[in-house]
């Protein structure tokens, strides 16, 4: 970076220095000035059509668009301090509203709508568009996939068209017609069913492109947004879980330049359904007279410890590659002393579904978020072998593996079964103890993506009943076994992991922050570099 030429300019009185070639709009962001805009998006080629980001540059007769004008040395840019620029923006807002239906009360975008926001911020109090004039009307169109087009709200920013053309690489949308008759069109024989097409809904600055899945499910202001990591595959796209009243209603991409830029795939968007499953284990269970009965945590944990203490020899751990790195690590610690076989399996889809315009971004065939974490911690993708080994094992611990396809026969002859999970498969009813844990939306934790990037996810909602995070359950169990103090947080669990596992050396939640750090880059020296 040091050899890059830098340019100093002033934006609304604030002096900033940015790399040469930066646009005024991006430079202004660094000065803390958000230049209002619609068509500009950092993940798309510049169109320069909404004309919202017009700014005054001293010495330049006409207003210039911030999104396409590069900074120049000594430039003085006025955004909010320019009456001329403000009047121009007010004009754009007024123009955008003349054909707009103003149906915010029934629009999904209300509350997170850039048209609403900017009009509220600096638009005219009243339109001067006569109520006697007709407004442009076009019927709502189902674009296919998950996308609904409401043309009456469209401001023709063309973000969706540019995304499909330049990022998805599939020219399936267009601008049709001209003038104020223009709308976003799709060829009648084609559908917007590209595996990444859902991004157009996020990119749409207004309520024109909507998710059918999310349609009328919630108002934007009722939602809480929690940073998380997508569980759909091993890519590890950064996401926000949007929750309302203890349920996740939507998953949206969270920008991370190193992983997913601004995007996520449609498969990932559907992962919220699993997070809201109703068939959850809500209380710890212990086997009493051949039946599982509810018990409190103290009793159950004591029983689990007792089983472990009373067993020796081999232990088999059947784990899911969708559980946290912390849980995977702690389970190893719990089974320390046994000859341990740790295994997982991954659902693999046929082929990958890349997002053509972004190198290294794809819906991966490995449909689990923590395959790399499990592998780093010594678990092997040898589920069938482990299942076979389970027949002779003294202890079998299942960590949220759904045991799909596993018959009771296969587990019958094995030793003591400890089941730790979110839901209880029938085949696991033979367990001695069942420890209910929270899912990804209900706890803090971390995953390691396929590029060895360790990324945190945060708790977005509460877990059901007495379910607890797996790191807590396993921490308590360790304490019960007399091998440590109970853990107070996922961060503590991670510190323990970082202290013990070389690959995570020097990492902490603080260092990971919300963008993550790659394994091998975790040492203090490398992080600060």
């Amino acid at each position: 970076m040091a050899d890059q030429e830098r340019v100093t300019l002033t934006v609304d009185g604030m002096e900033i220095t940015v790399p040469k070639g930066t646009t005024i709009l991006e430079a202004a962001k660094q000065a803390g000035v958000l230049i209002p805009h619609y068509c500009y998006h950092p993940g798309l080629p510049v169109a320069g059509v909404c004309r919202m980001c017009l700014v005054e540059i001293e010495g330049v007769p006409k207003l210039q668009i911030g999104c396409a004008t590069p900074v120049a040395e000594g430039q003085t840019v006025r955004v909010n301090e320019s009456e001329q620029a403000k009047h121009a923006r007010q004009g754009v807002l007024e123009f955008l509203l003349i054909n707009h239906p103003l149906d915010c009360p029934i629009c999904d975008q209300a509350g997170e709508c850039e048209l609403q926001n900017y009009v509220f911020q600096e638009g005219r109090a009243r339109t001067r568009y006569s109520p006697t004039y007709p407004k442009r009307f076009n019927p709502v169109e189902d674009f296919g996939g998950d996308v609904l087009y409401v043309p009456n709200r469209c401001i023709l920013c063309t973000r969706c068209v540019r995304f499909m053309d330049h990022v998805a690489g599939e020219h399936v949308l267009n601008v049709s017609e001209r003038g104020d008759r223009a709308y976003i069109g799709i060829h009648p024989q084609r559908q917007l069913d590209h595996p990444w097409a859902g991004n157009v809904v996020d990119l749409c600055p207004v309520g024109s492109l909507l998710s059918k899945d999310f349609l009328h499910k919630a108002r934007a202001w009722e939602l809480d947004h929690t940073p998380s990591v997508c569980t759909g595959c091993s890519q590890g796209c950064n996401v926000h879980l949007d929750t309302r009243a203890h349920s996740v209603v939507r998953v949206r991409p969270r920008s991370n330049a190193e992983v997913n830029k601004y995007f996520m795939c449609d498969h990932g968007r559907q992962t919220y359904r699993a997070m809201n499953r109703g068939d959850r284990i809500e209380a710890p269970l212990v086997a009493e007279n051949g039946a599982l009965v509810a018990a409190d945590w103290d009793h159950t944990l004591a029983r689990a410890a007792q089983i472990l203490k009373g067993s020796s020899g081999t232990a088999v751990a059947l784990v899911s590659p969708s559980v946290s790195t912390e849980a995977l690590f702690l389970l190893k610690a719990v089974l320390n002393g046994f000859v341990m076989t740790g295994a997982f399996r991954v659902e693999r889809a046929d082929g990958e579904q890349p997002l053509a315009g972004i190198t290294g971004l794809s819906l991966r065939s490995e449909r689990a978020p923590n395959v790399a974490g499990a592998t780093l911690l010594g678990y092997e993708e040898s589920f069938d072998g482990a299942l076979h080994a389970a027949r002779q094992a003294a202890v079998v611990v299942v960590l949220d593996e759904d045991l799909d396809g596993v018959t009771s026969d296969m587990l019958k002859s094995s030793g003591n079964l400890i089941y730790i999970g979110t839901a209880l498969p029938d085949v696991a009813r033979s367990a001695r103890v069942v420890l209910p844990v929270t899912n990804v939306a209900e706890e803090d934790g971390s995953f390691v993506n396929r590029d060895s990037r360790v990324q945190r996810y945060l708790q977005a909602k509460s877990g059901p009943g007495m379910a607890r995070p797996a790191w807590w359950v396993l921490g308590e169990l360790l304490a019960e076994l007399g091998r440590g103090e109970p853990l107070g947080s996922a961060a503590e669990a991670f510190e323990l992991l970082a202290a013990k596992e070389r690959a995570f050396d020097g990492m902490s939640y603080e260092r990971l922050d919300l963008k993550g750090v790659r394994v091998g880059k975790g040492t203090a020296a490398e992080v600060t570099a």
Binding site: H87, G91, I155, E177, G179, D180
Partner: protein
């Protein structure tokens, strides 16, 4: 088909000398009239020498912007590392303008010769002549002339043994005014929607197909052979006023004049004489009300302004308007300025490419306000609104289509406000029903 008027003695016939002569359309006929001498001369010169000659002549773009043609050519890279292109803008669509059509209909070889010289000067091997789709006859005439030019070795590989290769193709438009804007024209050639592009980059750096490109208007290119054969000094001498406006200009005069048509005048000619002397003035009993001198996209002049206006780039600016493409729309006292402004705004609303917000919405809104006034339901504040909407549409978009809609409307509200008020106050019967 004949040409509608005999040349007037006060015209300066350079480009239009052979208008109306069907013999001038053929290669042989053109050579007989001195054609293709300029090309041979230019091919014997270094490209830079051709550029310098055109620069010295003071020739400015005749499409509307008035940018010096030689300077534009000089922007092209001197070290040729990629293909260079020349685009001839024959998308003549500016209401009131119909001069390029006549050039192509009567003297197609003059244009081909001008294009070939320009191609040599900017080192372009390919020339696209972008002709609007409605010009069925000019397209046919031009195609025939091109075929002939190829057959005679004026075009193709090794033109006249010079080693220079020039290919020339007609690209037919399909109904879009905006394709006359140079970057929209390039997009249209590329098989895209005719959306104007953001500048920079400028066409000389990144033009059609991403290559260095020059775009010149038909009349500009047709002037070039004359500059070659008669010299820059001669061309510069064709100026009655400002030394910054040289040569002749084809003025298309239409509307309420006795003899509408194209008149070739020397730069600096008085508008008053053009209207009353050359064009025969108004119909009997009618008086001049207004003139839009540069195609419909420039401010309107009232009678007094028009009668004092000097027809060159500077003279029109001094009068508060622009020479533009030289398409003069003349209105007599029977014209309804409110209705005609609505009709002009409707044109721009129809032609807006839909990219920029101000243009897409502003042109259509302007039409609606004017229709409301015409329907008798207007209010006085609508006049202020027209001015403010016009201001919001001016100087803020990728191209000037938006400005072109605002300019005549705003100037008409200022200069002919009484007519607008007459509708608002009920002194005039409604002219349209409000839909």
């Amino acid at each position: 088909m004949g040409y509608p008027h005999q040349p007037h003695p006060r015209e300066t016939l350079v480009l239009s000398e052979h208008f109306g002569e069907s013999g001038a359309r053929t290669y042989d006929g053109w050579v007989k009239r001195g054609g293709y001498r300029a090309l041979e001369q230019a091919l014997g010169m270094e490209p830079q020498a051709v550029i310098d000659e055109v620069k010295a002549s003071g020739l400015r773009g005749r499409g509307g912007a008035g940018f010096p043609a030689g300077v534009k050519w000089d922007f092209m890279p001197k070290q040729k590392s990629k293909p260079h292109y020349l685009c001839c803008n024959a998308d003549e669509s500016e209401p009131g303008t119909f001069k390029d059509r006549e050039i192509m209909r009567w003297t197609p070889h003059a244009l081909i010769e001008g294009c070939a010289i320009a191609a040599h000067a900017i080192r372009a091997e390919v020339v696209y002549v972008y002709i609007r789709g409605e010009f069925t006859e000019p397209i046919a005439v031009m195609q025939q002339a091109l075929d002939e030019a190829y057959a005679k070795g004026v075009l193709g590989k090794d033109v006249r043994g010079s080693g220079t290769s020039i290919d020339m193709y007609i690209h037919r438009g399909a109904g879009a005014y905006i394709c006359g804007e140079e970057t929209a024209l390039m997009n249209s050639i590329e098989g895209k929607r005719g959306n104007p592009r953001i500048r920079p980059p400028f066409p000389a750096a990144v033009g059609v197909f991403g290559m260095p490109t020059t775009i010149n208007n038909v009349e500009t290119l047709t002037s070039v052979p004359h500059i070659m054969t008669r010299g820059a000094e001669w061309y510069k001498s064709l100026s009655l006023s400002s030394p910054k406006s040289t040569g002749t200009k084809l003025m298309s005069v239409c509307g309420h004049v006795a003899k509408p048509g194209n008149y070739e005048i020397t730069m600096g000619f008085p508008m008053k004489d053009l209207i009353y002397d050359l064009c025969g003035g108004m119909s009997p009993g009618r008086t001049l009300k207004a003139v839009i001198p540069g195609g419909s996209s420039v401010p309107v002049l009232d009678r007094e302004e028009a009668e004092n206006c000097v027809l060159d780039y500077e003279g029109c600016v001094a009068a508060g308007t622009m020479l533009g493409s030289g398409g003069m729309i003349v209105f007599d006292d029977s014209a309804d300025m409110v209705y005609q402004m609505m009709r002009i705004a409707k044109f721009y609303a129809h032609e807006s490419c839909a990219q920029c917000t101000q243009c897409r919405e502003g042109t259509a809104w302007t039409v609606r306000i004017l229709q409301k006034i015409l329907s008798g339901r207007g209010e006085m504040q609508d006049l202020d609104l027209l001015l403010d909407v016009g201001e919001m549409m001016t100087g803020k978009t990728i191209c000037v289509l938006s400005d072109s809609c605002a300019a005549p409307v705003v100037s008409a509200v200022r200069k002919f406000g009484g007519e607008f008020e007459a509708y608002i106050k009920g002194a005039r019967q409604p002219a349209v029903a409000l839909v």
